[in-house]
């Protein structure tokens, strides 16, 4: 009995190493950056809203034993497709946003199915496969909007098209959606702004993920994640469960990206989705998740730790080394390094 307790304690500490390291790094960064704490808190809250859903989208594939789903970038692309289509038809406000979500989700379901089917042929190599899929999808997406609009796709809104008549501008304004959600139920406490509606939205997604893991489907996903061979013997259709896991992830990522973009207020058509996968993965892992186990608390804790570090590190670097680039490189190193480290530990 004593032995049992002891091992559990050690395991606990081990799992927490990454968040603890991030905590101290953030703390040190906060100290050296000399940034205003209320500013950092405000920013972290904003980051929580922007990136929360995207990070949550990683949980289900990890539970299904497929590792980090770098293909959430494709979910993000779906979101951008949805937004661009709505912009093209100039449907503004909440209605437009709803339409954008619907279109994005339809694309996400379709592409998610494709990703899932492909990943069923890449058991054990899902992660590298999803990375390459992300590259592939990015290229195709970029050029469809660069060349497609104005040639084989008709456009309806001159403002988002380049003056040459072909291709979407690299930056489009989302003024028609601006502040449709962000400012709802915003409360000011001291110098800290808390947009309750958006926070609740992120929590709602966390609840949805939590709910799914508690359903029959969730139980199947878990079983597949523990051991897909045995899951098959237990009658679970492993392949379709894996496809479903990826679809859920892609759809969640799609909605996450819509939240992200509408919060920023402008859409960088060709680049806004890039890195959404890396940063989300790094944030999740910073919260103590591993490539085999991820929970909602890891996601939430991770967003706070990782983004605090991200917010303070450039200035911390500048103040310590009198060279802002150092903080900059350190930050990128941390993002990629966190993922590399998570892959190295069991």
């Amino acid at each position: 009995m004593r032995f049992y307790i002891k091992t559990k304690k050690i395991a606990l500490q081990y799992n927490n190493i990454v968040p603890i390291v991030f905590f101290f790094l953030s703390l040190a960064g906060l100290y050296f950056s000399k940034m205003d704490i209320s500013f950092v808190v405000n920013e972290v809250i904003v980051r929580f809203i922007r990136d929360g859903v995207m990070v949550l989208s990683l949980i289900i594939p990890i539970t299904a034993g497929m590792g980090l789903n770098f293909a959430i970038i494709i979910g993000a692309i779906c979101a951008q497709i949805g937004l661009l289509i709505i912009l093209d038809f100039q449907i503004g406000g909440a209605l437009g946003l709803c339409f954008a979500i619907i279109i994005g989700v339809i694309f996400a379901i379709f592409l998610g199915t494709l990703i899932g089917i492909s990943l069923n042929r890449a058991t054990g190599k899902e992660m590298i496969a999803t990375i390459i899929m992300g590259f592939l999808a990015t290229g195709i997406y970029q050029y469809i909007f660069l060349v497609g609009y104005g040639t084989f796709l008709p456009f309806h809104n001159n403002e988002i098209i380049l003056s040459r008549g072909v291709g979407i501008r690299s930056m489009v304004d989302l003024s028609i959606f601006r502040n449709t959600m962000d400012k709802l139920w915003q409360v000011q406490i001291g110098s800290i702004q808390i947009p309750f509606f958006m926070i609740l939205t992120v929590f709602a997604f966390a609840l949805v993920i939590k709910y799914i893991t508690g359903t029959k489907l969730g139980q199947e996903i878990k079983t597949v994640g523990y051991n897909h061979e045995k899951a098959e013997l237990l009658g679970i259709d492993v392949y379709s469960v894996r496809i479903k896991a990826i679809i859920i992830s892609t759809v969640t990522a799609c909605i996450g990206q819509i939240i992200f973009i509408q919060n920023i207020g402008m859409l960088n058509v060709y680049t806004a989705h890039l890195n959404s996968d890396i940063f989300s993965c790094a944030a999740l892992l910073a919260g103590g998740a591993s490539i085999k186990k991820a929970k909602i608390r890891h996601a939430f804790l991770g967003i706070f730790l990782f983004h605090t570090l991200f917010i303070v590190s450039p200035q911390a670097g500048q103040n310590i080394f009198s060279n802002a680039s150092i903080g900059e490189y350190f930050r990128s190193f941390i993002a990629y390094g966190a993922i590399a480290f998570a892959l190295m530990t069991r």
């Binding site: 359903t215 489907l217 079983t223 045995k230 013997l233 237990l234 009658g235």
Partner: protein, 491 residues
């Protein structure tokens, strides 16, 4: 209830099941007995749609459930048809709780969410599952907290969880059991048998596979005897006769190689003292053995009993305890290269997975170990590590040994992948002969090989032994061991 018609199954070029016909009635307990490798498990796997069957090319023949022709290609199909299976290597997820394992795929869910989201996305009612599990465990007289994680439990408790999971199914019509008592003690076996009898009274058909004859006789209404993938005979209850049945199980074969001499040995070459090996699913505990120079020892036992674990253990590839004494010296540094240099060589049971470089030529396979460990077949350059193969020498040698062992290949440069199972095994042996070890461990030398080749391989082992190599054979074919070994040890 279930009718199997003309089932045939091939693994690569080996026929493992030949026109199998079995019929099991409603509520009948049907026993299938046979030696290891007779095809019992393969038959159950076909009935349950085990994924490996499809991956290895499927089967031919027909299966009727309730007089309906049924296609079973995945476990899911079998489960939908009301078939349940208790696997020898448990289909249990150790990281999940007892309740989760037992209620898996059939969880209780809340009615409300059922209506809103449908069954699949309905929320699981954990407390109901807990209660259900508790009550099903009661039928076994087990008082266990269903919220415990399974990896904390003992082996026989896991066995009961596996059984409980199937019995809990309300739609269960046919239950397949594969060696369910292998790890159970007497008492637990008795309680299992009584449960099975209750089930059969409910009208559930049971197919019970075991090699423990007395158990099968006590439990079953009919018994089918299998040997080498064929049905030898099906006995009705009134015809049961354990002598006849066991004779059917063993059978006799023609042209047997027999190591006729009654030899005597004096010098102890190798000693195992309290030797334990821990391989998942295959363990040896506190094993003691003296191996005399020049003898052939057989180690018999079925799968999971550790007869192959010994050789993996001595090669230092798994965790071991205890000591090995070679030539009166303790063998302490047990990395593989040191063991090999001490003259111990092992031919593994998994030929394709561990014994051969399938994409390489016969020659490369034959010389590999000698080349790497003894620098044989190298050009005479000073830096051995970066030296090239002496191709002429290797080729000449390979040709010689190919002739000697009668390996059927187009040339020494043919890829091993293209050879038949028997010839592949010969290549494995050729490598062993080339290495010229003092002690040879060989596991399941005749598994998956056709009859004629079997005898050749056994013959070859005897001739290797005659050249002063001590041989330790692990095999589940007790009959073969009896023929060539000086001693047989049961583990």
């Amino acid at each position: 209830m279930i009718k199997i018609k003309n089932i045939n199954k091939k693994f690569r070029d080996i026929e493992v099941l030949k026109s199998i016909n079995i019929e099991v009635k409603e509520g009948e307990i049907h026993g299938i007995v046979g030696a290891n490798g007779s095809g019992k498990t393969t038959l159950l796997n076909i009935l349950f749609g085990h994924p490996n069957i499809l991956k290895t090319g499927g089967y031919s023949g027909e299966i009727f459930i309730n007089n309906l022709k049924s296609k079973i290609s995945r476990p899911n199909d079998a489960i939908r048809l009301g078939i349940g299976m208790i696997h020898q290597e448990f289909a249990i997820i150790p990281e999940m709780t007892v309740a989760e394992n037992i209620k898996i795929y059939r969880e209780n869910t809340f009615k409300l969410t059922d209506k809103i989201f449908g069954k699949n996305l309905s929320y699981i009612d954990k407390s109901q599952n807990y209660i259900d599990t508790k009550s099903i465990l009661k039928t076994f007289n087990i008082d266990l907290d269903p919220s415990l994680k399974v990896f904390n439990l003992s082996l026989n408790m896991k066995q009961f969880i596996e059984i409980a999971r199937e019995i809990d199914r309300k739609d269960l019509k046919i239950l397949l059991l594969d060696e369910p008592t292998a790890i159970l003690n007497k008492e637990d076996t008795v309680s299992l048998i009584s449960i099975l009898k209750k089930l059969s009274k409910k009208g559930i058909s049971i197919i019970y596979v075991s090699h423990k004859l007395d158990e099968v006789i006590a439990l079953c209404e009919r018994i089918t005897v299998m040997r080498d993938g064929e049905i030898i005979k099906t006995y009705e209850r009134q015809e049961f006769d354990s002598d006849n049945i066991s004779e059917n199980m063993m059978g006799y074969k023609v042209n047997k190689v027999i190591n006729a001499q009654n030899r005597e040995f004096k010098n102890i070459l190798l000693k195992f003292n309290d030797f334990s090996v821990d391989i998942p699913g295959e363990t040896v505990k506190n094993f003691n053995l003296d191996v005399y120079k020049g003898e052939i020892i057989g180690i018999s036992g079925s799968y999971g009993r550790g007869n192959t674990a010994l050789s993996w253990g001595i090669m230092g590839l798994h965790k071991t305890k205890g000591e090995i004494i070679l030539n009166n010296k303790k063998l302490s540094n047990r990395n593989v290269s040191n063991i090999l240099l001490n003259g111990i060589y092992m031919v593994p049971e998994d030929r394709r997975g561990a014994g051969l470089l399938l994409n390489h030529s016969v020659m490369e396979n034959i010389i590999f170990t000698s080349l790497q460990m003894k620098n044989n077949f190298l050009m005479p350059y000073p830096f051995k590590l970066f030296s090239f193969i002496n191709k002429q020498k290797s080729l000449d040698y390979s040709k010689k040994i190919i002739d000697q062992l009668n390996i059927k290949c187009s040339s020494a440069l043919q890829k091993v992948n293209e050879l038949s199972g028997g010839n592949q095994q010969k290549v494995c042996l050729a490598r062993a002969i080339t290495f010229d070890p003092e002690i040879l461990f060989i596991s399941e030398p005749t598994r998956g090989i056709d009859l004629g080749a079997k005898e050749l391989i056994l013959d070859m082992l005897i001739s290797i032994n005659k050249k002063k190599t001590t041989i330790i054979i692990s095999s589940s074919e007790i009959d073969e061991l009896k023929r060539i070994c000086d001693r047989i040890i049961e583990v």
